[in-house]
Amino acid sequence: MSDYIFYPGCAMESNAKAYYDSLMEIAQPLGINLQEIDDWNCCGATEYVGINLIPAYSLIARNLALAAKTGQKTVLSSCSACYLNLAKADYYMAERPALGKKVNEALAAGNLQYTPGSLDIRHLLDVLINDIGLDTLKAKVVRPLKGLRVAPYTGCMVPRPDYNKRWSDPEHPTELIDVLKAIGAEVVDFPGGTTCCGGHMTQIGPDTAYELIRRLISSAEKSKADIMVTVCPMCQLNVDAYQGETNSHYGTDYEMPIVFFSQLVGLALGFPPEKLGFGSEITSTAKALSRIGMDIPEAALAEGKQHQQEGLPMPPCMRKTAKTPEYKRPCAEEVKA
């Protein structure tokens, strides 16, 4: 067994429960021993850093300090944003000692301290590939996912900016593809592998979010994928739960399910779908997984929603002319046509 200090992050307790549940199932057979950081706090997502710099980094560093206190050296995070925040704080505190010093002064008010660089901060996908290994994973597969066409969606914050130099490529990483191949899935050529899902724009600038979600799903559809697979709670939430809103906005009828890679790994290791959080998705996985003979609890499709106009002021959508290239935000009626 390899030992890790586990930082789950807030999403794993709520909207990404399927990720948490499936990770807890597959950890033991894969030899991943997780010890959760006692009383960890939120990493601040992408919000706190946009308000106050020193408090934002002190918030993240409290977790690093609590992790370091355990005496273990390797922190494992499964959420992309949490992973990036922890790795970034560790890196920037060393890159700019004035920041490190101030953060430590703040931590001292809570009787904590953290020496930058003293922890190894890793993402679950990296641990699975580089510590556990693809050979071990392959040896544990009892139910290869043969015939399931999967779009590998790694997202932004795991391979970028790669402070610890762990990933194969910031824009075309192969790690998720390798894992999916190891469990017998058919990986489609998916150009959207690390493009953004819109992040928090679903809340503050829905028009921007809908377009980014549309591009991803349309790209997965064109690749003839049955299902998209992600390593990130935010990506899953946006593509899954906001797919209905995106459909109403553009008048499309996409039904592209998206699940966490740990859920598919769990299926391949022989766990029943209900133990892996299947059925909690908004866009049903039933059709996709029937392709590999799996019966998934049918999930209700999100009801169609009306088009709305709120959020940040945006420039108008681009009419397609000889001069406007296709990658600009198209108008709804053009997408429909």
């Binding site: 709520s14 997502a45 503050i204 709120e310």
Partner: protein, 199 residues
Amino acid sequence: MSKKPVEHVHARLDHDEDLSLLHEVSMKTAGVSRLEMCIQCGSCGGSCPSEMDMDHTPRTLFAMLRAGMREEALLSNTPWICVSCYHCVVRCPQNVHITDVMYALKSMAIQEKKYRDSSAPDFSETFVEMVEKYGRSYEFGLATRHYLKHSPLRMIRTAAMGLDMLKKGRLNMKPTTIKGMDQLTAILNKAKEMELAHE
């Protein structure tokens, strides 16, 4: 960091170049921003997935900072449209911490109340408020409060999805509070004290 990175061009200007805004943003950026190293190549805007909704590309925004255009730069919607995907960061030939510069600009805009629409700043502030109250994020509270204030109609339209999330155990009605709230509050209070004097 060099205080006057473009000293040699002074001879060609009829006044001293004022780089104080550039330096101020640099100081408020996490890590070593390298903002003064921008060579205006445009890789950032060309890599940006949400550039279509920005009023200025990141490249233009950085030129505005160098030109001391405080009002225009802080009022730009660009930092608020930035989706934090770090595409620009890995492509920037000068290793400018572009995403973090956007965060610094957001916090300056909030401090000086320089924004055209309060929805995005309010969202960040509500998120932070929840974290400071409970130690963890509280989605249900955040979403309902944000929608009530900024788009009550959207809340009605998304109610079905919210209910679905609730039924599927993906939305907690009650916040989770950490045990060490006093400790976290002490840390954050001390950090806020130091915030203004960061260098």
